[in-house]
Symmetry: C2
Subunit: 338 residues, 2 copies
Amino acid sequence: MSVTIRDVAKRAGVSIATVSRVLNQSKPVSESLRKKIMKAVEETGYRPNAVARSLIHKRTGLVGVIIPEIYNPYFSGLVQGIESIAQQSGYSVMLAVSGKSVEQELEMLQIFQTRQMEGVILASSRWSREHRRWFTQAPMPCVIIGRPAGSLSSVCTAIIDNRKAAYEAVRYLIQLGHRRIGMIRGPKWDRASGEERYAGYRDALREADIPPRRQWVAVREEFQVIDGYQGMKQIAAAKEKPTAVFCACDRIAVGAMQYLEEQGVSVPGDLSIVGFDDEELARIVTPSLTTVRHQPFEMGVQAATMLTEQMLNQQKMGKEAVLPHQLVVRNSTAPPSE
Amino acid sequence: MSVTIRDVAKRAGVSIATVSRVLNQSKPVSESLRKKIMKAVEETGYRPNAVARSLIHKRTGLVGVIIPEIYNPYFSGLVQGIESIAQQSGYSVMLAVSGKSVEQELEMLQIFQTRQMEGVILASSRWSREHRRWFTQAPMPCVIIGRPAGSLSSVCTAIIDNRKAAYEAVRYLIQLGHRRIGMIRGPKWDRASGEERYAGYRDALREADIPPRRQWVAVREEFQVIDGYQGMKQIAAAKEKPTAVFCACDRIAVGAMQYLEEQGVSVPGDLSIVGFDDEELARIVTPSLTTVRHQPFEMGVQAATMLTEQMLNQQKMGKEAVLPHQLVVRNSTAPPSE
DNA sequence: CTGTTAGCGCATTCAA
DNA sequence: TTGAATGCGCTAACAG
């Protein structure tokens, strides 16, 4: 079916080695043969088979990327950043969406290995012992996004300081005068939004000697608008109400504001809301959202840069890139009314 | 470096053929050898090399996907739909982001060919003669999303009826009583938002015997919020003002609303706004946006389904899938105030 | 300069 | 059942 180097060689009346030489410019070839061969290539529409090439060079030029979902500006930002660097370094990206399933992720990692990826980037939320094992034995350089690699010394990570960022956001609320501060947090299995940001929230409370209140903390499994709505509903059911709520992400914050509007609670008049991520939504919603900005695209760029660096040097290393974040104050926060 | 089938064979004291047989279960192998081999596989951590396999079987199990950008819910929805079907059919996805450049897209298509993709999905906005040529000569099945394939009979397409959808949206405005209706359209090179939706807008005007007014049509090159802002600014500069503006996409609509709010023009009191896409934004913005809903995820699913069907049958075909759309009326539209 | 040959890692003939 | 040998498409080392 497909035209091979042999067909071209036959058509040009030369050996396949010569064809290979002109195509790769690896050795000088007489002008006359070169022309004949180029003509044959043209006529047959021959394209060298990258699979065969990979087999010889032991280089696929492939980078595997796993994300839990793509329909989320954080992850699509990551992917775009990764893709841009990969492309510009001559690598192609294999994208796999895990749907947050640990089993699927592990299967994808296996596939990446059999498919001879030269590098792997994982932006996962869940984590397991098998993950750890896979990364320790992985033959290719790896970068993990959004979660510290722990004691994995041969894996790079690109993260932000979620704990500190959350701490700063809540400290800001405290500085405004708030003492009754709730949080809608992510699930416990999500390191960033479930653990770290919650820890930062607790840090800020502790620093201000504010005892935490269980009823003011809602745990959500997802990061959709509806989760914010439900989370706020739950918190609002407490006898005593908070005057501010810190949300694990912008969508949750938006959902919380929707519930409050429905209930006739004014934001920020009666209750202040802080989000996290600063996605486009944050500027558009009314009132515009005070939130923590970070740059998923830049994170992807950093991750891919660390990866290509390792791939070039042909060796794994354990660098950690901590990207900046920044509290962006908009109109969803104000001093408490009392 | 990497452990090969040879290493396993040596360790188990058998031939590589036998190892291959137990791993693929292609021929019966005595239980004793099977055990020995499995043990050797376990101990060495051997993973079969998919590249070598591909070379033999002439099947890579790879699908190439090109999108102009991913940081846009329309395209990320597409990708997620495609990915889910591909995964479930045992294919892996190679993602390439073209940044809207024709040259880059063509280069990616070449790469896809040399990399032996078994199928290709293109969701592009721009189009060129070279595109056309590539798809006619392409050896693998292809699906084009968002643009009719024209006379390409061997390429599937997944589209919505942009013209009709736009027509219906503008007709709705006319039915509300509007006669002075503007449009912020996409660039001419974007078939969907630049040509078809504009054509639908003209269709509706024509049907109602409303002469089109040049000053009420703004052309934008991008689809960001800022484009809507600028586009609305341009239209607002006309001596006579329109009472409604149809926007080529939701982000543009949001930008338009932002400009209007700045200027103290009330929506929908003084001016009605209609968007297109019904992305999450549309429900969240204030006032919530009347817009045309369609389903990028479903579109991706359809595209990938048509592709896998062709890949299974090992032959190209020219089906066209037209996905449904639907006008969603929210709070950004009302009868004109006069 | 050019052609012949030996693999890359694996599946699959063909013999044994 | 098992092993040796062939070849997928291509590059690179070796002769000429």
